[in-house]
Symmetry: C2
Subunit: 251 residues, 2 copies
């Protein structure tokens, strides 16, 4: 049976862009589990989740205390399960399809759970650059929603959030330094391979690759931003993304 | 042959207290590697390291740009190696003594490297409470050094750093919430055991236990602080420390 994978569309090639949903796409392709993407515009996410019973993943950041519904989410017709949150989806897939390559090899689930917050806290303020490029690449109905809700949270327009001039130089340097600390973690893998666990792919790599491929897509391969990132830390980030090319399929 | 383990003494039982050196003690005991502790007071750490050739682990935080020498460090007479930095020591021990229990099972070195910064960033400002209890438990020569150098870095006396009144309540709540996020990582281990990798101990657990046992020692088992920590998150932290009791030996 074919899993339904809920993702947010855009005007980028093949619709794909979101770092968070890329993690799930990598997992599904890595495990070779048949799936079909169902595209859901931002304003339709909450109604969809409430209608079919997909659990919220957090509380809204607007201080309202209301539930926040996010993608990725999946529906697995073979079990009837709806699952949201990319980590929970990955654990569900490992459990439900134990004969496919494991996203958490060697029972590393707990250790891997610490990785994404650690990685994100080292990305610095990359999001302040990425947010505009993401936003203008959405379809109009999602762009309007994205702009309005981000303004409600932070009080600033997307354009105001993006660092400019000297601040931009400093913030971008912070991104490079942060990824440098992540590079140091990879270097600790004892020279055994390009992945966090050496030769073996796992959740942490999909997290890193999800954010990086999102950057590559929203700015474009020929952009100054992606060329910068690709040149940092001995080309580690470019090579990581290229090594995962076979898991980029959009079904 | 017997490894020399350099640690910082104190007036606490058996001299031991430091969270950072506890990580190494746990590793040595877990691997059942013969070792003998050599006690080094704070002002003697840098001269010792320079004399025997133990590498600095960072730059001093006083803005001088000078090398910072820290313990733990070890000397292994069977190879002639001096190694500093608790993570590097653990990797050295796994490599040099491959027939002992692995601190990084399943090639998890890279993933484990991300764990300590992730854990520490979730401890909140625990250090602001701990610093006074640690300091007054040192021997006079180290206490004087500790007070002087911490004042040089932050401009405040140790007593001024400790939160008081309403701030103390808020900061302590932050410690509980931070450990709550760490508890959530442990809960992701798929119900397979009390450790990050399920039934198998590894580096991440020694990091957590090192900080926790330090708290237990400096405040004492009957203190309000340790009783609080021990009661949080279903008693996870107390149980973790108790499960490692067999690796507490001080040689």
């Amino acid at each position: 049976m074919t899993i339904i994978f809920y993702d947010i569309p855009s005007t980028f090639p093949n619709n794909v862009w979101s770092a968070n949903t890329w993690k799930t796409r990598y997992c599904l392709n890595y495990k070779r589990i048949p799936y079909k993407t169902e595209w859901v515009e931002y304003p339709d996410i909450e109604p969809l989740c409430k209608r079919v019973g997909i659990a919220p993943t957090s509380k809204k950041e607007d201080g309202s205390g209301r539930d926040h519904y996010t993608l990725p989410a999946i529906y697995d017709p073979s079990t009837g399960a709806y699952v949201s949150d990319s980590f929970a989806i990955a654990q569900y897939l490992d459990k439900t399809y134990p004969d496919t390559p494991r996203i958490f090899p060697g029972g590393t689930d707990g250790l891997q759970a610490a990785f994404e917050p650690a990685f994100r806290s080292n990305l610095g303020e990359l999001w302040r650059f990425a947010i505009l490029a993401e936003c203008v690449g959405l379809n109009p109905v999602s762009e309007e929603y994205f702009r309005r809700t981000r303004k409600e949270i932070g009080g600033k327009t997307i354009e105001e959030v993006v660092p400019k001039g000297e601040e931009a130089v400093k913030v971008w340097k912070g991104v490079e330094e942060g990824l440098g600390r992540v590079d140091a973690w990879y270097q600790k893998n004892d020279g055994k391979g390009r992945y966090l666990l050496g030769e073996t792919l796992s959740w942490g790599d999909f997290v890193v690759a999800g954010y990086l491929i999102c950057s590559k897509i929203i700015w474009g391969e020929e952009s100054r931003e992606w060329k910068d990132i690709g040149s940092w830390h001995g080309g580690r980030w470019k090579a990581l993304i290229e090594s995962l090319k076979k898991y980029e399929t959009v079904n």
